[in-house]
Subunit: 344 residues, 2 copies
């Protein structure tokens, strides 16, 4: 390994000067800089990132924490891929690297390990849920002065750095769309209330229904776990009460697709016999038959902003970032909800 020392010798300067050249610090003679750069090139010198981290007392790594579940995909792969790409784009711009950490439920209490070991300067946390234990872990993390930003999850009553999407508005638009298409008996298949976006979607649903002068029928409210299978299972229940249902709003695409599959097996075809809208506008929405109307969520941008926010916080006097940001969602109408019933 070629070190700064060798470069300094070859360039006939001190080691400090070599560092200055590579860090662009202080005024210096162009000739000196040239000589150092030349020597470095000849020797093939590259600063040792670990030594730099050690000396600077920061790792240059942004931790990305995600729940780890062997061979299980509670969240769609799409969701993570988008967010990861967004984070990736941002860290690259700031010269950081991404340290990926898959946390099992057992580790949830140990969010702090990465920080304590100094492997990361800050973290972006994906897939968090509002449980007693996670709440406590995050509060503790905050008390210890560690910087983190949550993506797509809010914790009411607590003041964390959060980048979320406007799921209330998205759901509101989805249901408004169904209403405009002439549907009134609209069921709602939600996910676990441990996710703030589930609660948001419920609010959006309720708001649209009430505004339309309709009542919220408890028997039209279902809860799945965001998996295709849970949507498929909900189809059986919906089928039993098909005379009371014209349309369904599902809290994600996977459940919506499972739902369509289950109902199709019984001869009820989405976009013909009933309407469906999902959430996420994932690839699966385009791949399904019929193509699924969905609420688009800017996952890429959310990842990017989360990384930016949390790096700004640890950065050297960088721009201040609002504590909580909420990005807009977007209704994407496809065939699954397009036929309508004649409109209002």
């Amino acid at each position: 390994m070629v070190t700064r020392k060798e470069v300094a010798e070859l360039a006939h300067v001190s080691e400090a000067t070599v560092s200055r050249v590579f860090n662009g610090l202080g005024p210096m003679k162009a000739a000196t800089k040239e000589r150092v750069l030349e020597a470095a090139k000849v020797l093939g010198y590259h600063p040792n990132a670990i030594a730099q981290s050690f000396a600077r007392r920061r790792s240059g790594n942004l931790g990305v924490i995600l729940p780890y579940m062997p061979k299980v995909h509670l969240f769609s792969a799409f969701y993570f891929a988008e967010i990861l790409s967004g984070i990736g784009e941002q860290v690259r711009e700031q010269g950081y690297d991404m340290l990926l950490s898959l946390l099992t439920p057992d580790d949830e209490l140990d969010y702090g390990r990465l920080y304590r070991s100094q492997k990361v300067d800050a973290c972006v946390i994906l897939g968090a849920r509002d449980t007693e234990s996670q709440r406590n872990s995050l509060i503790q993390l905050q008390e210890q002065g560690h910087s983190f930003c949550l993506v797509n999850q809010r914790f009411e009553g607590l003041s964390f750095l959060e980048v979320d999407a406007d799921h209330v508005e998205g759901s509101y638009q989805a249901v408004r769309h169904l209403l405009a298409e002439g549907y009134q008996k609209i069921a709602f298949l939600n996910g676990s209330p441990q996710y703030s976006n589930s609660l948001d979607r419920l609010h959006g649903y309720e708001k649209a229904m009430l505004e339309a002068g309709l009542t919220i029928e408890p028997e039209l409210m279902f809860e799945g776990n965001y998996s295709r299978t849970s949507g498929y299972e909900a189809a059986a229940k919906l089928w039993e009460m098909r005379d009371r249902v014209e349309a369904i709003f599902a809290a994600n695409d996977r459940m919506a697709i499972g739902l369509m599959q289950g109902l199709r097996e019984r001869g009820w075809v989405a976009g013909r016999d009933f309407a469906v809208i999902g959430c996420d506008n994932s690839d699966a929405a385009k791949l399904s038959d019929p193509p699924l109307s969905s609420i688009g969520v800017p996952f890429f941008e959310m990842g990017k902003q989360a990384a930016r926010a949390v790096l700004a916080r640890v950065g050297h006097g960088a721009v201040e970032h609002e504590l909580q940001v909420k990005l807009p969602t977007e209704l994407i109408v496809r065939q699954s909800s397009r036929i309508g019933k004649g409109g209002v």
Copy 2:
């Protein structure tokens, strides 16, 4: 930050002894160990990972390199999610962390940056293609003595660490299945030959066709780019020659699904009017209508073995790993190919 020194003082031992306790080295009195641990606990001491890396001259990070394409998904998200999880499971077992690096095409010539900066001890490379420039980059990397393992990509004529799946056999089984169902006019929608698995699939297709006494019709061979859209576009061409096609084997699920969508728009329904088999057995295969028969590829296991192989190589005299491993694939039959034409 609490350091080893403070622990040593409180426990009335030397700093070296503290290190020994935390690294489980050498024989030591149980009482001493107890005292050190107690002191560490009282002070809240945690070894500084960066200082450790610095002293050990290894980072403890496994680099994971993936092609980066803003908002584009050439590979399915499923593919990466599975492999990443597999790598994650393995690194966790070995006490390593994953450093994610998204490389743009421009960076392809600079595979070495991560190594030179000492940020990683080894890399797993995903999504590599057999192009002139990538070949050269990898050869150079190898010459510089850097350890890496390729996943799902082989480079003929070169001797790299590679973990692949048996795509030849998978394709062979897929086509055999179609033949057994009574189809003989079997088209093949492949991906770019820059991917070794595309070539493998071609070989499997040819082998099965020739064994069945059939000829390879060049007009039945199509090339897409692994995207749904390219499958959708291929549907138009296939439709033109529908009298000469009974079944289609596609090199991934996304193209197969695009294909089904395109043909359905023309009234040709998969599993009824023609048969289709895809590859990857991704989530999309289960979500599509009809459910898509597919060749399952053990991406999770491939990621895991790749991480294992390359960490063994840099590890302290760990077990030797074969240079090239090839994991078995698996035919998953679903409705898209199930109807058959009455058998052979």
